[in-house]
Point group: C2
């Protein structure tokens, strides 16, 4: 089968690989219907993460179950499934508390930018749709697999709710879907921090009521001006740098909540400033599995259309172009079809 392999920064190739097989009785193998390139895939692509050996890329996926291990009970070949980037048993104490990405048996899922994918702990990781979805729903279901689930978790972590003002740091797919999540959760005011016209437009379409183009201290100042000097109740951080984290913390009022989901890169939070800020800080790898049933229902009911973050669609063979387009910010997010 064809699979996307990163050999070095900037060097992504589509190559022939063995089709994955069931290894554990709890595994499933799925035929990938759609996958995509993640913002986090750009870290090794840009050389910001070290790549020790060629890596099979992709951890966002929807597909059709091709084969299941002997112990898999909740799904069968032929069903359409959406999965998460961490496999989880969905039964341990941590999973039951809603933190499947902290599952005591968690395993990373990798190699989804390919024709077939092996998913460990299939019963606890995949969610099947009630029936085969319309083709038009596929991009949104794919978004649920990571970027929507991550934006959703960020909004939950930031305690978004009715009557609240929410600021969103980061205008990538996760930040934009954090806006959609905040809107769904009833936020009164949603401030998108973005300086790109196309992303501002999508932010407004997803529910942003205000746009702030300034960054850093100037961005914080602007958020304060919009909130009677107090700061936002809830801030979603979807970048992962020192600047974005400090911007998020400083833009939050005392007693407010920061939900951070940008994968941290060289971040060191100064204790004294965090102490003085009186904010709540929560985040990490989003427990997408926890939200998948709800998100799939919202998508199939037509209540949300997160698939709009895919502004470019390419066949799997053009995966290298997909990386290039996202690296050069010509695309927000690229969908790949095997």
């Amino acid at each position: 089968m064809r699979a996307t392999i990163m050999h070095a920064p900037g060097d992504v190739r589509v190559e022939d690989r063995d089709k994955p097989a069931i290894q554990q009785p709890t595994d499933a193998v799925i035929k990938v219907v759609a996958a995509c390139v993640c913002g986090s895939d750009l870290w090794p692509y840009r050389g910001a993460d070290v790549l020790h050996e060629p890596r099979a890329m992709g951890h966002e996926y929807v597909g059709i179950v091709d084969d299941v291990g002997a112990d898999v009970k909740n799904m069968q070949p032929g069903q359409f499934v959406v999965g998460s980037f961490f496999a989880s048993d969905n039964t341990c104490g941590i999973c039951r508390s809603g933190y499947q990405t902290g599952c005591v048996h968690r395993e990373g899922v990798g190699g989804a930018q390919a024709e077939y994918l092996r998913v460990p702990l299939a019963d606890g990781t995949l969610v099947a749709t009630p029936e085969m979805p319309d083709a038009g729903k596929v991009p949104s279901l794919l978004a649920a697999s990571d970027v929507l689930g991550t934006g959703w978790f960020a909004a939950k972590a930031a305690e978004v709710g009715p009557g609240k003002t929410v600021a969103v740091v980061g205008d990538g797919a996760v930040g934009l879907l954090g806006i959609l999540a905040a809107k769904q959760m009833g936020a009164e005011r949603i401030i998108a921090m973005s300086r790109h016209a196309d992303r501002q437009a999508l932010a407004r379409e997803f529910g942003a009521t205000d746009v702030v183009e300034e960054r850093g201290d100037a961005g914080v100042q602007k958020i304060k001006e919009l909130t009677e000097g107090l700061g936002a109740h809830s801030v979603i951080e979807a970048v992962g740098t020192q600047e974005s984290m400090m911007q998020a913390i400083q833009a939050t009022r005392a007693g407010g909540h920061v939900g951070f989901v940008g994968v941290s890169h060289d971040v060191a939070l100064p204790g004294r400033e965090l102490f003085s800020s009186l904010v709540h800080l929560h985040g990490g790898p989003a427990p997408v599995r926890e939200y998948l049933p709800e998100l799939i229902n919202l998508i199939l009911a037509g209540d949300i259309n997160p698939g709009k973050v895919f502004d470019l669609e390419l066949p799997l063979d053009q995966a290298p172009d997909a990386y290039k387009a996202m690296d050069e910010r010509r695309a927000i997010k690229v969908l790949l079809r095997p």
Copy 2:
């Protein structure tokens, strides 16, 4: 009047100073009945905080109202009051959300280790007891002014509650009263981290069910062993160093809560580790004012006896000895009587 002044590290003197007067119509001046030395007073005493000029010490106090400004409505001379270390208006949006230490008009209160003390924003800062309390209640009411209120906030920030396992990092007065708070809030299991026999005994008296003597990685390992490998649901951090913060974060299970109230010193939290931990982090200067009415009621009803943290009582004139006893860890906390 006599007042305690720190001139330099290790150099604390009781000197004559002018009795404070009303400066703003919202001020009160109180005759101090009891004050005490705070763990945070030891930072400048030990030279860990820079002292640019002589400082009037003390921010924990109970007393009798001596004089009030023209705008003070909620109290009158002769009433017994308990106050907080930050003055707050208790009416702004931040105060109303329960974060009086983030009040838009907040001011530090200082110089309580003295005969008289000026308290700004008296209506929003002080709470009067229904009647003159018994002398035996004074130490507990004094504890409410800071260490109890701070331990209480830490337990709230750590989301302590029924069925939960709580670990407490730090066996000073705040950590010990964090244990008392956790017990009051219904924690199922409370693990005190302490290697001092006297403090372990008080910890058990306040409600600790287990004691762990190990620190750092070994301490974390021990907490995991006691919690089926998962870590505590809630961890109270009451020290403020890099080691104690990391110990608290690492001892908390994914999805659990760290409440940190140790004043941060040279702490820099590694973003990637915080991200992976999936913990909630909340803390800072405790909004004691928020909890005072409830804490005063519990004390006057005899439900809690936080005054037990005072294991040494000295006349104000011996304030230098009080600092010495705490610095040398001969006393947990010293009460001073003017």
